[in-house]
């Protein structure tokens, strides 16, 4: 097919269509509006259905409906709009419905601004809504990876019957990069969805999709089933990129676009003879605890860099369990850390200064 130049938000849309998603319900919000606009234009061309809802709340409930019918379905938003979807995401998790929800995050809290941010990490990785649940979270760092991870997100959703979050930031949504799509598209038909509420043929009980269990014993059983599923996902779906960690004295943990900035800073430090490696969690939940724990035994210090006041760093510290010092550098309010800023933080590690 050859390389084309696309905007991150457009890539998410096209990648979803390639993954066999023909249903999209959404509401525009900067910096992810191009995704909604792209779906509005593209889905009718491929025989799909696009519907702009009156709010994020209705969009996520339309997703609940389409997922109940066994269809691959997506919705998207940015931070404030994503918060509005939380109730629905908890319902999807409880009812065990596969769906993909995109958050192209922006500065917060509240209305915040329209600049890029990673301050929704807690929200997406720790449940976000009410009840004991997790959603797998995939965080691409470049536009080509969006294609791969969007396909993964739909596969994980169907395989485990769970909502999956695709987390980007405004930078990833707005930037342009060359990408290449596979000629082949998926359908998702390889997943048996005998639970889908598409009608019975008089051959059994009615199919019911619900997250309601008035019976406490049954609700506990449902929770046990969910937890068992989450352990399976933890075992099978942890994804991480590791660079130059084996001989490193220091390691940076960063995800998404920030990992790319960190990578440039690492290259600069390595030219100065400072041995720095990079661990980039690709799945934020499940979190790549093991590699971080193992690495922490062999390095002098770990630095976590985020566009937040320090969220993922908590998971890093839990994984490290005190085996090495963990410091943090973050920018908030939509300000993007620069290569030089991260480089200076690396130099501080060398001097034994940790915050």
């Amino acid at each position: 097919m050859g390389k084309v130049l696309m905007k991150g938000n457009e890539v998410i849309g096209e990648a979803a269509i390639h993954a066999g998603c023909y249903y999209f319900f959404g509401y525009p919000i900067t910096p992810q509006s191009e995704l909604v606009a792209y779906m509005a234009k593209r889905l009718p061309e491929v025989g799909g259905l696009f519907l702009q809802s009156e709010s994020e709340v209705s969009a996520i409930n339309m997703v609940y409906g389409a997922a109940s019918a066994g269809k691959r379905v997506m919705t998207s938003s940015s931070s404030p709009g994503f918060s509005l979807k939380q109730e629905g995401i908890s319902y999807l998790a409880g009812a065990e419905l596969p769906a993909v929800i995109v958050n192209v995050a922006r500065g917060g809290p509240g209305l915040g601004n329209i600049q890029p941010s990673q301050s929704d990490y807690f929200q997406v990785t720790k449940g976000g809504g009410h009840g004991d649940y997790h959603t797998p979270v995939l965080a691409p760092a470049n536009l080509q990876e969006i294609i791969e991870l969007t396909s993964d997100a739909f596969r994980i959703a169907d395989q485990y019957r769970t909502p999956v979050i695709l987390l980007g930031d405004g930078m990833l949504g707005q930037m342009m990069e060359p990408v290449e799509f596979n000629e082949k598209t998926e359908t998702g038909d390889n997943f048996m969805k005998d639970w889908a509420t598409t009608g019975t043929e008089g051959d059994g009980l009615p199919k019911v999709i619900t997250s309601l269990d008035l019976n406490d014993v049954k609700l506990e059983q449902r929770n046990h089933r969910l937890q068992a599923k989450y352990r399976k996902i933890e075992n099978n779906e942890t994804k991480v990129e590791v660079k130059n960690v084996e001989e490193a004295d220091y390691v940076i943990v960063a995800y998404g676009t920030v990992a790319r900035i960190a990578h440039s800073a690492i290259e600069k430090a390595r030219q100065d003879g400072i041995k720095v490696g990079l661990i980039r969690p690709i799945s934020l939940w499940p979190f790549p605890k093991k590699i971080i724990s193992d690495t922490s035994k062999n390095v002098k210090a770990i630095l976590t860099v985020e566009m937040s006041a320090g969220q993922m760093v908590e998971d890093v510290r839990l994984a490290v369990e005190g085996k090495s010092p963990v410091s943090f550098y973050g920018r908030t309010g939509g300000i993007i850390p620069t290569v030089d800023e991260i480089y200076r933080e690396i130099l501080k590690l060398g001097k034994g200064v940790t915050s």
Partner: protein
């Protein structure tokens, strides 16, 4: 055609802002105004280069203060004011596609009072203009919404910093020439990023006038 009214239009990712910045910084004189009319994109706009522009004597016309970083459809009244100044050099960086061009429509009567250049920037690597037919349809839609006629095409095949080959540039130019013939508007030039030009200048078969430019819109990991 020498004119001190240059309006830069195109599809998303064509390189409008790169061209507008390049053009504005080339100009000499005291009354140079670069108007950022982009109400479509929240990032990667001319206004992000305010400092560099001002240091080099170019006045940025964009929403002021905090509103500069908003996604609101704000058009400052200063745009009309500058367009009414005969001696001012006014460059307008319009938002992408026909939606971005809609904003321009309100200024069509005042723009038409003087000679102007309405340039369409074309990047063949963007799917929406990848063929002559598609490009013509985008140009037509922009013309309709802006109520102005495109007076020239600037060819800018690129992949946002990733190398493109001489053949790809040649192919892009050929398609632009075809559009130029069909629409009866000149293909003004081919834009090539400075660093890429150094690499491929020997094998370049592009025939049009070249604009060698320094890329300003960079990702934060670029060193």
């Amino acid at each position: 055609m020498e004119s001190n009214r240059i309006i830069v239009t195109g599809h998303y990712g064509s390189g409008k802002t790169e061209y507008a910045l390049h053009e504005a910084l080339q100009k000499e004189g005291s009354q140079i105004y670069l108007c950022d009319l982009d109400v479509i994109n929240p990032y990667f706009r001319s206004r992000d280069y305010k400092e560099e522009l001002e240091v080099n004597g170019v006045n940025l016309v964009a929403p002021k203060g905090d509103l500069m970083k908003a996604d609101l459809p704000i058009v400052t009244g200063e745009v009309a004011m500058r367009l009414n100044e005969k001696d001012a050099t006014v460059i307008i960086d319009v938002g992408g596609d026909e939606d971005g061009a809609t904003v321009l429509g309100q200024f069509a009567p005042v723009i038409e009072e003087m000679p102007y250049e309405f340039l369409f920037i074309a990047n063949m690597n963007r799917p929406s203009v990848a063929t002559a037919e598609k490009m013509i349809s985008v140009i037509r839609a922009i013309e309709l919404n802006s109520r102005l006629h495109v007076t020239g095409i600037i060819h800018n095949t690129h992949l946002c910093g990733e190398a493109v080959t001489s053949e790809e540039i040649h192919h892009g130019e050929t398609v632009c020439q075809e559009v130029s013939k069909k629409l009866g508007v000149p293909l003004v030039a081919t834009m090539i990023e400075e660093e890429l030009y150094k690499e491929i200048s020997e094998s370049l078969i592009a025939k049009e006038q070249l604009i060698i430019f320094k890329r300003r819109l960079r990702s934060p990991w670029y060193v």
